[in-house]
Symmetry: C2
Subunit: 173 residues, 2 copies
């Protein structure tokens, strides 16, 4: 019998939550897995390097967020996009066609109350045996941590942004 | 004037230190950077997914470690390989031809005393303006943290291995 699928959570305030997920994306690709990504917060305006890599590798990528909420000028629209992103993500996780689904920054839709934590937990807990899931973002709820196999908190010891160094292409995005 | 290069450190006992570095490797590739990797601990016996991805992307990769020390049957040879790996890595960092050099699990050569911390710090601190460096591994020495721009400690909240779940291809390697 194959191993059951894993649920990994990368949370905490430090750098590396999404980077680590995209590192695993590369490993999964190397193993011939079918991989899907939903980005919940970064909007299409961010021409991120990880997207370019995913396109090159033939990975199914959905950027469905509306940028960071503090940049939003229409919070209703931001919330609607967040809910829509979750609907897409829940379908990808439940359908059984993926070996790995990365839900990048999905925690924010729970933090802001756009989608109930229980609804997210139901989908993650009932995922197909084939489908591993990685959840990233600050403030992972206890209920998600409870059903996860591996949970890492990225703790910021020091961050370049604190020293007025700008986000850098190739490193942060 | 271009931004000075960055030194990032991913340390701590949690999962994600190397994964995050390989996520940044993908971003750097997407930006057209010249990237080099030295793996200090994993030996060639580990046919790791990240290596396969790096080969696919044309990234310069050196696996120079001797496996985990607790698997070593000849510690003198393991130490000699560790020192050699550092010589290669130091050359790559100092030469100025790379935009990013990943020193995966380099911390162990300092932890075991194979290379003095000061020697590593000198090379990292005097790196060319072009060359960003990512250091991964547990037990990053204070002297390395002191000269780094961004330091993340990966804290283990929960790890599948604690529950007798085996390392899984596509996820952990």
């Amino acid at each position: 019998m194959p191993q059951p699928s894993r649920l990994l959570v990368n949370t905490g305030p430090g750098k590396g939550k999404s980077s680590a997920a995209f590192g695993v994306m590369g490993r999964a690709w190397a193993r011939g897995w079918t991989v899907g990504v939903v980005q919940f917060v970064k909007s299409e305006k961010w021409q991120v390097g990880e997207r370019k890599l995913a396109d090159h590798l033939g990975i199914d990528w959905h950027t469905l967020g509306d940028g960071f909420t503090w940049e939003s000028t229409d919070l209703d629209e931001t919330e609607a996009k967040g809910r829509h992103a979750w609907d897409v993500a829940a379908g990808m996780v439940s359908a059984g066609g993926y070996d790995l689904v990365i839900l990048d920054e999905v925690t924010y839709i729970m933090k802001y109350g756009w989608v109930p934590v229980d609804a997210v937990v139901d989908v993650l807990r009932d995922r197909p045996q084939r489908t591993n899931v990685i959840v990233t973002g600050r403030y992972a709820p206890d209920e998600v941590i409870a059903i996860a196999d591996t949970v890492t908190e990225m703790v910021k010891v020091k961050h370049a942004f604190d020293q007025d160094i700008k986000a850098r292409k190739g490193i942060e995005y």
